[in-house]
Amino acid sequence: MAVTPDVTDPAARLEDLVDTAHRIRNAIESVIEGKGDVVRLTLTVLLAEGHLLIEDVPGVGKTMLAKALARSIDCPVKRVQFTPDLLPSDITGVSAYNQQTREFEFKPGPVFANIVVGDEINRASPKTQSALLECMEEHQVTVDGVTYELESPFMVIATQNPIEMEGTYPLPEAQRDRFTAKVAMGYPEPAAELEMLDVHGASQPLDKMEPVATTAEVAALIQAVRAVYVSPPVKRYAVDIVAATRTSPDLRLGASPRATLHLVRSARAHAALSGRDYVIPDDLQDLAVPVLAHRLLPSLEAQGQRRHPEQIVGELVRRVPVPDAA
């Protein structure tokens, strides 16, 4: 890369970013073994100022991942355990009457933190779910006519059990759309599981975790990600991929324009994490499935053939031609 005075700064920032990200990754991976991809995606979403949905069966470390990320960054973390009887105000906060001051006083809920872990989000009633999801998009909470800004950076990491499981309210499409990416943890490799037994058998490694980055550092990283260059052909490619989901006969519902936005944003972060100051189609390809698949509804035929949106998106990505020169 040509090093000229005016690009020195971004280049240095980029190196800084890669460095910091590497530290965070190492920290998380010291807790969760053998899940490099998931950790990387989590970081990508963090840097893309998005929200992450982790879906998998209980006990594979969803919550652990969320907690580890939160712990590795020196920032306020709140955790909400969603249950069927959870109320919206339990999340956003309430205005309570203060007897002494004779005034209503706002008691901030758990969303007022940099990282909010929403555990088993699909166990709560839709009403409560939507309360959280609203703040995700708006980055603000309005209670009794007063608007309260949320922290920045602000990231929601929600976990959910597969919807086929008992006692779950599936998230409606509109709300799934707000999550930048969905990731499945998957069972660990036998070797990783074995190591886990060794590490977790004696103590709780989470307790030993030390923060490796500050909020300010993360905010700077996010700024650096925003500066990553997206060339016109890549933008066109993103639009092409999303458009392909809308015309695909296998899909009943295609991806929204918001999905395009999320895709490009997370591709920026993905590129930055690779130490690149420009996005290449590979970034989009890597992210297409986690970013798009959870927003799509397969058609009845595709359902009949047991084809999952993940599969369908994968096929689409292989078929949409990569744009050449602008």
Binding site: S231, D282, Q285, R318, R319
Partner: protein, 816 residues
């Protein structure tokens, strides 16, 4: 409703091909009017739902009204309704028309009679097309009357019809077929009883639009091929687009002089009194010589023709002496003479030079070439008329001993070939005539003497033909004929005796006027040439000379020596010669079908140089096919060279390196999905084909450079070099199968795909043009309901197509 219109359009399109037949454009409008009237009648009949027989019955009436209005309105009642007088006028005009046709050659003047006749004929064709296509619903059969109309100019005019006219005509027919197919399909969907209900018709059309499109695509492709393929293959026929044939103008008309007329209009020419000068010449020894034009060496039982000529560039007469004289022993005594020949300006098209045999040197302006075997000199471009040229001839001077010693080894046995089915009595006669001859030479002399004397032949210009039957008649019964029969008969008899023989056509030496020798039309002549090894071809003269024969014919000296035995061995002489003669003859070759010669000459593709016909022709064909097959390989090489050049010229190499890499992979069958990014491609190739470190590095360089060029704000400073590409190709080629490698060289997929894409692009343009038409129509006149119906249908088909393409490797949905 569209079908009658399409039928009318088809007729109009074919009618356009009549243009070379007429002067001016009056005929066009009359004919258009006739077609319009016919079509309108048909449309009206269809719209009123009349029975099929109504339109053919009514059309003649409307056409008559139209003819009356146009050609005989002054005699008609209300200018339209026919009266007795107007009918008489029309009949008179018709008569005039027929007379004019007899009188004039195309292009004919725009007389009312001819125009009326043409308009009537076109109206008849239009009616027939309407009957076939609309009433009987046999659109394909409507091609027959159209074809009949099309053959009129093709038969009358010798020039080819211009290809644009052909294309228009073909489009007319294709359009008719398309409309018919559509209408047929649209009927499927109609509910019973609402035949003309527009709503149901609309509901039924959806599928036909797409089908019609593919029909048109096929039609257009077929027409384009029909025009281009013959043009690209000139050897298929004497294609007039190229003008390769050696025309000798035998078919020309009019009162000009020269052989062409003598052949073309033999009957008239024999009675012709004018005896025009064809050429004049001076010769260094002031001896007249026969001037040969053609040498006919094939006798197929009906006529003498000539083998295909071979005019190789190195045989140009300007390149030096002519090819060696066939059969002449090197060092044999010859008599050299020089002649300066001046051709008349007024002769017909002639692409051969009249020359003495054997010519050794010819000095003439233009691209004149000598045929190696016959020493005929001809040109595919230049004409003899008005030429002045010099020729040097080396006449062999054989002694009697040499002649008697000469065996007659044929150059090739084609000079001995005779068709099957010749009268055996002719062969017996030949044996009898030459019974006393001990050498071939004596036999030849005996034959000549027999023809000119003992056989008691009569010179008679009324004879005709030189085929097997004419031969028998001439030799065994009539014993009357002129040079053509004499020459042909002697050549055949010589062949029967094992002496190679051929027939030459040209002129006799003419007569001396002043210092010059003048050759006239009446000196046109045919004579046999016989082959003697060591001496070559020798002329003989079986035709009676002098007042009772061909005036200026001369018996060659060498055939005169007194032979020991000369007995009249021939059969009974039928009748004494009734000295009928005089100059009324123009002689020359009198083929049963004189024009046949013309065709034969035209048919010899001289420029293609087909020497030994079959083998060389096949060889040429194979070579052309090979060259055609090598085209893709050449294209690929060119593209590669251009890219490599660009690579070295610009620092980063632009996208050239990447394009070349992609093409190389495509050729080797290693291309990936369209969704493969440069980086992924590099990874895949490196891993799957286990590239060596160096090659992998080169590949990475190409990939990275392309990636940065495409997607980064600044391109990389250094790009790949040509060596990188060479290295990659060398590393990859062994991984492909042998066939793949061969294919990569001779039929590179990258080129073929590009051709296919170009074709698809052309079809897309065509489709867009097609799409434009209905849109314009809709914009101007279509109802709103129809418009929305079409839109809905469009989106419907689009999604249906999307479904179809889901299994294809690329998404084509965006193209629509």
């Amino acid at each position: 409703m569209r079908l009658p219109v399409a039928a009318g359009l088809a007729t109009a399109a074919v009618m356009i091909t009549l243009y070379p037949l007429f002067e001016g454009g009056a005929w066009f409008w009359s004919c258009m009017g006739a077609i319009l009237v016919t079509t309108l009648t048909g449309v009206a009949a269809s719209r009123l739902g009349a029975r099929p027989w109504v339109a053919p019955a009514v059309t003649p009436v409307t056409v008559l009204l139209y003819m009356t209005a146009v050609f005989a309105h002054e005699e008609a009642w209300l200018r339209v309704v026919p009266t007795k007088d107007s009918l008489a006028l029309l009949a008179e005009l018709l008569g005039n028309g027929f007379e004019d046709i007899q009188r004039y050659a195309a292009p004919v003047p725009p007389h009312a009679g001819i125009t009326l006749l043409t308009a009537g004929g076109v109206a008849l064709i239009a009616l027939l097309v309407d009957v076939f296509a609309v009433r009987l619903r046999r659109a394909a059969l409507a091609g027959l009357p159209l074809l009949a109309l099309f053959t009129v100019p093709a038969a009358v005019i010798t020039d080819p019809i211009g290809w644009p006219a052909f294309v228009i005509a073909a489009f007319g027919y294709v359009g008719l077929l398309v409309v018919d197919g559509r209408e047929r399909l649209s009927r499927w969907g109609r509910a019973v009883g609402v035949r003309r209900s527009s709503g149901s018709a609309r509901a039924a059309t959806p599928d036909t639009e797409r089908l019609a499109l593919s029909g048109k695509r096929i039609g257009v492709t077929a027409i384009v091929l029909a025009v281009l393929v013959p043009a690209a293959l000139p050897t298929l026929s004497p294609d007039p687009l190229f003008g390769f044939g050696v025309g000798n103008g035998l078919g020309g008309g009019g009162g000009n002089i020269g052989i062409p007329d003598a052949i073309a209009k033999l009957g008239g020419q024999l009675r012709q009194q004018t005896n025009a000068t064809v050429l004049t010449y001076t010769s260094s020894d002031d001896v007249p010589r026969y001037l040969r034009i053609y040498s006919l060496d094939i006798f197929d039982g009906t006529k003498w023709t000539l083998a295909p000529l071979r005019g190789r560039p190195q045989d140009r007469v300007s390149e030096g002496p002519l090819p060696p004289v066939p059969g002449l022993r090197p060092g044999a005594p010859v008599k050299r003479a020089e002649m300066r020949i001046t051709m008349s300006e007024d002769i017909d098209e002639l692409h051969f030079l009249p020359l003495p045999y054997p010519a050794r040197e010819v000095e003439a302006d233009g691209d004149w070439r000598a045929d190696r075997t016959s020493l005929m000199v001809f040109s595919t471009e230049d004409q003899a008329a008005g030429m002045e040229y010099r020729v040097v001839t080396d006449e062999p001077q054989p002694t009697a001993e040499e002649l008697n010693a000469a065996v007659t080894l044929p150059e090739s046995d084609r000079y001995l070939q005779l068709p099957d089915g010749l009268d055996p009595r002719v062969a017996a006669l030949a044996q009898r005539v030459t019974a006393d001859a001990t050498t071939p030479y004596e036999a030849a002399v005996a034959l000549q003497r027999w023809f000119t004397g003992e056989g008691r032949f009569t010179y008679d210009l009324r004879a005709s033909g030189s085929g097997a039957q004419a031969l028998s008649r001439f030799l065994l019964r009539d014993r009357a004929g002129y040079c053509e029969q004499f020459a042909g008969a002697m050549a055949v008899m010589a062949r029967m005796l094992g002496i190679p023989a051929r027939v030459s056509i040209g002129y006799t030496g003419g007569t001396k006027i002043g210092d010059e020798w003048t050759v006239r039309t009446h000196d046109a002549h045919a004579w046999p040439e016989l082959f003697f090894d060591g001496i070559g071809w020798l002329r003989f003269e079986p035709t009676p000379a002098g007042a009772a024969g061909q005036g200026t014919a001369q018996v060659p000296q060498y055939s005169l020596p007194v032979t020991p035995t000369a007995e009249p061995s021939a059969g009974p002489s039928q009748r004494p010669s009734s000295e009928e003669e005089d100059s009324g003859e123009s002689a020359g070759p009198a083929r049963p079908n004189p024009r046949q010669l013309d065709r034969d000459l035209d048919g010899t593709a001289v420029a293609a140089d087909p020497g030994t016909p079959a083998a060389v022709k096949i060889g040429l064909g194979v070579a052309a096919a090979l060259a055609l097959l090598l085209l893709p390989a050449a294209a690929r090489l060119l593209v590669r060279r251009r890219r490599l050049r660009r690579l070295t010229r610009t620092a980063a190499g632009g996208h050239a390196a990447w394009a070349e890499l992609r093409d190389t992979l495509t050729d080797l069958g290693m291309a990936g999905d369209p969704g493969e990014t440069p980086r992924a491609l590099g990874r895949r190739i490196t891993e799957r084909y286990a590239l060596q470190a160096q090659a992998a590095e080169s590949l990475a360089r190409v990939v990275t450079s392309e990636e940065r060029l495409r997607y980064a704000p600044t391109p990389s400073a250094s790009g790949p070099v040509a060596d990188d590409l060479h290295r990659i190709r060398r590393a990859l080629a062994p991984r492909a199968s042998r066939w793949r490698r061969l294919g990569a060289v001779f039929a590179p997929m990258s080129v073929l795909l590009r051709v296919r894409r170009a074709g698809e692009g052309a079809l897309d343009v065509f489709d867009r043009l097609e799409g434009l038409r209905p849109r314009l129509w809709r914009a101007s006149g279509g109802t709103r309901a129809r418009g929305t119906a079409t839109t809905a249908r469009r989106s419907g088909t689009a999604s249906a197509e999307g479904a179809g393409s889901a299994k294809e490797p690329t998404l084509t949905g965006a193209r629509r």
